[in-house]
């Protein structure tokens, strides 16, 4: 798999970009979109984050093959926003951010809405509460 990773050679050597860098860039771009509460990294990642280790790449799966990049994003959306519009904006912003910052070609950005929440600030807590009610 490592052989499929993109390399950018220049006069001084080779530049390689790790998947984690791409996921962090994508995560930061996605969270800036209006209507996105947070990214969903699963309860294990959320627990680690609560313990103090901030992870901007959580809830993002990156597959890089040669120069082509496929990104899957798992989002929690704010209630009231139109999901297709928010998702399309996320796709556009993530594609632009990753292509601009890394030089990789983003072929697909798949958006998965995993939950809906009421408020941006207390989104995760509120979401947990509602999920408990749903069960």
């Amino acid at each position: 798999m490592e052989a499929n990773k993109p390399e950018f050679p220049n006069d001084y050597g080779v530049i390689r970009i790790a998947d984690e860098v791409v996921s962090t860039v994508a995560g930061l771009a996605a969270i800036e979109v209006e209507g996105v509460v947070s990214l969903s990294g699963g309860w294990g990642t959320d627990l680690v984050e609560k313990l103090g280790k901030k992870n901007f790449g959580k809830g993002i799966k990156v597959e890089i093959d040669n120069n082509e990049t496929a990104i899957d994003i798992f989002l929690i959306i704010q209630f009231g926003y139109t999901i297709p519009q928010v998702a399309e904006t996320v796709q556009r912003e993530v594609k632009v951010a990753v292509e601009t910052m890394t030089g990789l070609e983003v072929t697909t950005v798949n958006v998965h809405i995993v939950s809906v929440s009421m408020k941006k600030n207390s989104g995760e807590d509120n979401n947990l509460l509602i999920e408990m009610e749903a069960e």
Binding site: G42, G44, T45, G59, I83, A87, N110, V114, E133, A134
Partner: protein
């Protein structure tokens, strides 16, 4: 979690069940579990077998812990849109949350449990509800169907094929 590891988890839970039962039996004063433990430690061969099983169970526990904690992408979502940039999908749980938040606006609904299924013509939804007995059930069911359909189509862009309303109980508490 892959099917193989689900079977392993099932067997692991059975072993834990036996260990738990043995611990309870010891605490109640039953001598049999202690006799078996003494038997395991009696000969070097038995200790080797016991150690091997212990190592195996230890690594199985680590693998199961990893499989439980890792973020597995949810592929069971409902496809909302498929464009040039990629797909947009929504999980069944998120659809349920949209329904619950939409229904909160309606007075007289005491409790709601939505059941959501994917169909070829759109979503098939069953709303299991508890309502205030002072209200008209047919009237309330019409309001419920209208609001849920509107929310799912406007917020989620999700086509709704049918919405069934089941009143399973009444509750007059405020």
């Amino acid at each position: 979690m892959p099917v193989f590891w689900r079977i392993v988890l099932f067997i692991y839970n059975l072993i834990l069940l036996v260990v738990g039962a043995a611990a309870i039996a010891i605490s109640l004063g039953a001598p049999e579990p202690l006799q078996y433990i003494n038997l395991v430690a009696a000969t070097p061969e038995n200790r080797i077998i016991c150690g091997t099983v212990g190592i195996l169970l230890f690594f199985l526990a680590l693998v199961l812990l990893y499989l439980g904690l890792r973020n597995e992408p949810n592929r069971d979502g409902i496809l909302i849109d498929k464009g040039v940039l990629g797909e947009v999908s929504i999980s069944i749980e998120a659809v349920k949350l949209i329904i619950m938040k939409a229904v909160r606006q309606i007075d007289g609904v005491k409790e709601i449990r939505p059941v959501v299924k994917k169909g070829s013509a759109g979503l098939s939804i069953t709303l299991k509800t508890m309502i205030n007995p002072a209200l008209s059930a047919p009237e309330l069911s019409g309001v419920l169907q209208k609001i849920v359909k509107e929310h799912l189509e406007n917020i989620g862009g999700l086509p709704v094929a049918e919405i069934k309303v089941q009143f399973h109980d009444f509750n007059a508490d405020k």
